[in-house]
Amino acid sequence: LREAGYVSAVGRKGYDDVVVVAPITTSYVRYSVDGAHAFAGRTLRALIDSAGISKAQIDGFCFASFTLAPDTVAGLTQHLGLNVRWLDQTPTGGASGIVCLRRALRAVQSGDASIVACVAADTNQIGGFGSMLEHFSRFTEDGVYPYGAGGPNGSFALLTAYYMKEYGATREDFGKLCVAQRENALRFPLALMKTPLTMQDYMNAPPIADPLCLYDCVMPCAGGEAFLVMSLERATQLGLPYARVLGTIERHNAFSEDPIQMRGGWVLDRDELYAQAGVTCANIDFVQTYDDYPVISLMQLEDLGFCAKGEGPDFVRQHTFTLDGSFPVNTSGGQLSVGQAGAAGGFMGLTEAVRQLTDTSLGAAVVDAKVALVSGYGIINYDRGLCTGAAIFARQGT
């Protein structure tokens, strides 16, 4: 791995002196009458309890949510009694975990904050998801919702249909990923999906938006995710197990002139990611993709260089994706089997990766895992996801 003080070709400093600790996944339920504030509170409490610090020690706060309106993170400080000197809110949906992480790492490195709590929390009230969708964005309101109001299912159906035609993917390819993730989820106590899923179940599921059927579609739920970013020195003092951050990237609205999204911003930044991290795809022991729909997982595997564009289907056929598979993916079951708690879905892969690398898994472990890649993808503003990001983490001492 890289020596300390490494600066990448584009002049970015590394993250040698900052670490991620106290990964939290909590309070997952299908529906709740509570507001996002309640989930933020529960998640923050679990976070400080887990780290053994007091709320007053948190001096930086970075938050992500879709259901906090009319409040913003500023109002949330008063709601939760936080007194911080650094504050941020990431409106990047499924890329929020990576984006929060990047903000927090630099805040700590620069000294603007010493302990940053990164929290994502969302509620899911009955009927709430539909009304959120109608006003999700201006382009959605004008150009998407009036067309059948299919929500993300409709948008991803169009991408999936195109991908299948263009690259020869079959439903079984997507199904293989979904079935493997369910197997992972059965060993993860917080997963909302608790029954096994067979390929036959997957294939026979009721259609939602062709070619998507029930098990291709993420299930909205409520819940919270969080982690702390602090200096390596502080983590050591507090005796907290930590994961190192080797490299990170983010990109927004890449390839905007592609008529339909078959690639994301990762393509532009992956060389920088691996260069900063000092590793290659071959060094990655497991991957957490952003998996609201399986087609997006395949796109990430291609765009992050695990296979070439269009070779996703072959890659799926050649590998197994369970915890003990040849290429473990979404080791807690991912959003497809745990549930998608709004913006917390964008944190899920990150917290799970840090648990795996700090031997604090809530379920089963990926044996001998040393290096993990976590990817984020978010904000279907109109016809495609705008925000992409990725981070590579390593076990303490590697």
Binding site: F129, G130, L133, E134, H135, R138, F139, E141, D142, G143, V144, Y145, P146, Y147, G148, A149, G150, G151, N153, G154, A157, L158, L159, A161, Y162, K165, P206, P207, I208, A209, D210, P211, L212, S256, P259, I260, Y382, D383
Partner: protein
């Protein structure tokens, strides 16, 4: 008690498609209401924009101009939705939508006609307003002659005429009678035709009554009791209401007061009596209803002989906008037809015949077009008025 409840409006509102649009996107809706497909084009770099924007995504110019788009493009991907978050679509599933890459640049999401469901295929995109009045895009195969009323999805943007009950307010004028004949040709069901004088004294009454479905209804718009009676008799059955009072009065020289009384107060009166029974009918049916106001392009200003008529038309047009606001919520579409001078009138310029006007009205219903400007005169006025309403006003104020 029963009356109080009726006046309070329907107890149920029909499910309608999502109506929320940004203010910028309303320009697309406005063009769509005339059956035109317009997109923003940057005046500086010529980049076509979609969805509607307030800054050019390429050069950041704020000079985005709405221009007609020919709609040709490639259907990239399509899906059959069998789940929807909207009650309106839920009761109409499955619903087909697709992503079309327009030849002029952007990719647009569109409702798909039955002829354009398999990608990739060449399609043509057009624009209409849906039952909420919001502009929507429709993609059809390029060789398709769009017959919207025979398509399971596209029919939702139209007002089907076949088998429906029509009420034409005034059947004494040549225009009212031509309308009745046109609705008969379009295979409407019952066609009630209003008459203020005894039916037997109306010229052409025999030929009209002989047509299938045509039934005379006594109605004197200047007499409250008469309007009440007509509303009580047929109000609950009317599916397409045609207010054609203006086509009768336009030709007659008359005082400002009587012009205003018939065309403006008359419309208020009719709206008060007929909107509630129509709303109640709509609340219990998924079939869309319509209210057609046949007005005059002189609603935009006056250049001819009859300033009082123009003023009455302007007033009626203002009320029609209020009516749209009320009736859209009830799921009733309001169509406004603005012809130029009618044949037989004293105004100059190219005339619109009663038959042409009637065909335009029935075609607009079948095609789902809400704002209709039939004939060369009306089109000329519309173009000048759209280009610059204030300059047009100055043009009209010049004494020639």
């Amino acid at each position: 008690m029963a009356k109080a409840r009726a006046l309070a409006g329907p107890l149920h509102f029909p499910d309608l498609p999502p109506r929320s649009r940004s203010r910028t996107a309303l320009a697309l809706s406005a063009a769509a209401a005339m059956g035109q497909f317009e997109l923003q084009v940057c005046a500086e770099c010529a980049t076509t924009q979609y969805p509607p924007r307030e800054a050019c995504w390429k050069c950041l110019s704020s000079r985005l101009e709405w221009r007609t788009c020919d709609g040709y493009g490639q259907l990239l991907s399509s899906t059959r939705l069998v789940h929807s978050h909207s009650a309106y679509f839920r009761s109409r599933l499955p619903w087909y939508v697709g992503l079309v890459q327009l030849d002029c640049g952007p990719s647009v999401l569109a409702h798909l006609s039955a002829t354009a469901r398999v990608s990739p295929t060449r399609v043509r995109v057009s624009a209409r307003v849906d039952q909420s009045g919001g502009g929507v895009l429709i993609a059809a195969a390029i060789d398709e002659v769009m017959n919207m009323t025979s398509d399971r999805q596209l029919i939702e943007m139209t007002i089907p005429v076949r088998g429906r009950s029509i009420f034409i307010l005034d059947a004494q004028s040549p225009c009212g009678q031509a309308l009745a004949r046109e609705f008969v040709s379009a295979e409407a069901g019952t066609i009630w035709v209003g008459h203020a004088v005894p039916w037997s004294s109306v010229a052409g009454c025999d030929t009209l009554t002989a047509l299938p479905g045509v039934k005379p209804v006594p109605l004197d718009i200047t007499n409250n009791a008469s309007v009440d009676r007509a509303a009580a008799d047929i109000g609950a059955g009317v599916e397409i209401f045609v207010n054609n009072l203006a086509t009768a009065t336009g030709a007659e020289p008359a005082g400002a007061q009587s012009m205003m009384y018939r065309n403006y107060f008359g419309l208020l009166q009719l709206a008060q009596r007929f909107e509630t029974p129509m709303s109640n009918r709509r609340a219990h049916s998924s079939a869309v209803l319509a209210w057609v106001n046949v007005l005059s392009v002189f609603a935009l200003g006056n250049e001819g002989l009859n300033a009082a008529f123009a003023a009455a038309m302007a007033a009626a047009r203002a009320e029609s906008i209020e009516q749209r606001k009320r009736m859209r919520a009830a799921g009733i579409r309001v169509l406004n037809v603005f012809p130029g001078p009618l044949e037989g009138g004293q105004d100059g310029g190219p005339k619109v015949s009663a038959a042409t006007l009637s065909r335009a009205v029935v075609a607009a219903l079948a095609d789902g077009i809400e704002d209709v400007y039939p004939g060369a005169f009306a089109q000329d006025w519309l173009a000048r008025w759209r280009a610059n309403p204030l300059a047009f006003e100055h043009e009209l104020a010049v004494n020639r």
